[in-house]
Amino acid sequence: MSHLRLTGRAVEETGNSVLEVIIAMFLALAVIAALAGAYVRNSDTSLAGQRQSDLLSIAERQIESVRQIVTQNGTFNAVALNAYPSAGMDPALPVNPSDPNDFVLNPGTPSASLLIESNYNHTTDGQISNVPAGGEPLLVNGANGVSGGQLPPLQYFDLVTSRLTASPPPADAFASVYTYVTQASGVTAGVASSCPACAGDLRRVVVAVKLQSSPGHAAFGANAPLYTSTLVSNPIPSNQASGAVGLRLGLNIK
């Protein structure tokens, strides 16, 4: 019996040369690195989407709290701002402002107003129809006969504790919640002669929510604020004088 010997066209296992192994390793590492990067991106994108949903939930929550404020305070006057919004960061209105206060005209004055945009992220679309060119007047305590407003123009929602605060949380990621209350226009209007005082019974509430990062955490998600708006009407119409002597029904008779 003779030993087997590799001859001629026997198995050539020199494919496992060092060079080929190196190339294979390089390709494998490249694939793994790409996949890792993709997964990290996907994770960030998914989280950004979740944040977007969170922002909208925060905005909805603020809208609902505004609706409840009438019941809690027993007066529609509570649906107004307790202070003026700050002036916007940009001297001129950008196409896609990152500061919701950019939509405030004449900030800090009794003639302060809010532009009601067709698309707050694309201002070249202009305002919605039937609103004044200078926007709708902001309703702020101490101006134009407004009093009793309970809504701060700016609050902060802590994304870790899910609490609304008056100042930015020092360590947690948070969202800035901007609230605007205006004298609604561009909706159905009643016969002026029947109720001149009723013009103030319909108010527009616009809420903008913007994600802010905490120190040491990179910001991700949309940098532009998310907006939502609705209308709130006075459940006790102004055309029913409080001094009426008639049958008295309703919420919390005073």
Partner: protein, 499 residues
Amino acid sequence: MTRRPLRDEAGYSIVIVLALLVIGVGLGAAALAGVLASRSHANRDSRSRRALQAADAGIQSVLWTQNQLNLPSLDWNAGPAGLSQRLDCVVPAFDMQLKVTGLATASVNSAGVCPTGSGAGAPGNGLTAGFPVGDHAAYKVQYLPGTTAQGSGGVGRTTMNPKIVALGYDDGGDTSNTAGYVARRVEAVLAPIDPLQAVEAQGDLTFNGLLGLAAVLNGNARTNGDFTAPPVFANTDLAGGLIGSVTYGGSISSGVNIAHKVRAAGSVNRPPVSIASSKPNCSMAANCTALGPAYDPVKDTFSLSSGSVTFQPGDYVFCNFNVTGGTVTAAATAAAPVRIFIDSPKSSRCSGNGLGSAQGNLVAKTGINNLLSSLPNATGASGLQLYVVGTQNSSPVYDNGTTAEIDGSFGVIQSFVLYAPTSRVTVTAGCSLVLCTALQGAVIGDSVTINATLFTQDLNLSGYPLYPGLGAFHVQQYVECPVPSPASDLPSPDPTSGC
């Protein structure tokens, strides 16, 4: 011996790596697709929520419009139809922009029903225009009066069961592509608007005439439960000849076939009384002082067994009202009524006074003398308004948990409006052996018993504006309805289709 040569496997590791590459790319593509889908869903969810806010805005805009009606000028007193001042229904007239251009008012017409709307923009006359709210969201909305005739032969009254249907949508910035709209549809069911009747019972209603034989009701009556009347019962009106209506939800029993009786399709419940904890016990401190020792400021109760007490015009809030003797007078004037509120035992005002559940009642065994009772056509009854909050139980709300009992003295007309929708109510006219003094006004209670031969509805509640504390048009229930197809318009002809 030599083996057959094997294949050359040079470079096979590259094949393995390439296979790994393909698998990795596939996994990455799958993950990317998942994220993109997630983003798409998140985006659609955002648009859907904006659409819901827009729908809510639409409902609020119509509520605001409706509540601009000059309600104090309307006559919500539902006396028998045909009297000149009476209005059985009122529907606002709209234009295409849902602007209220006026009121379509009518006494009951020959068909016995009221118009359901008027104007180019009224429901049933075409779809409404869309109203933007900002950020490419808008709404379309329709108001449905829901008028229902309660009566027969053109006589009776009309109730309104209003609804507002709103379609909110996000057009995504492209108004030409309605297929891309994301929409939500909401139906707001408003509180029924039903003019006050002479007598209303959330539960059963019983009329007992003198000696249980005969009684006359000058006005309308309604009960969600059973109606029981004496063998001889007539419901008529002061104008003579016209007949009021009796609406009942359960059974009706009387010895005489009552004309214009209507079996109600559903119940109408009056809202309970709600008093702010900050409402003072007396609108003027001097008024409380004038009540003398009958008023206990510590327990906030009124008790009288002898002597006389006069209530000056103004508001009074008590935890309990118990008159077993003596004389109580309400010095109401045409411009200034006397209003007496009985708060709930559970209220912050009463829960700490030591009386527990033995309070919250209004008992006047000797009646209350309203100085306006001598006015013709019973127009002074609204000068004395009596309110009972009740137990404020959350379930059931209408529990007969408190008592309102007024027993008149013979010769003294009992003239008042009693609003106690969650209380057991018994009102008895002062009677001699063969004759009873008249009762006037309105009585709203849970289970109600009227012992009288003649009860006349207050025909001048319009002189005292109603609903000053709450808009007549307010939402009782929200219902989210399926999104219509196309998503840009409310269904027609019935915008509530599918709700």
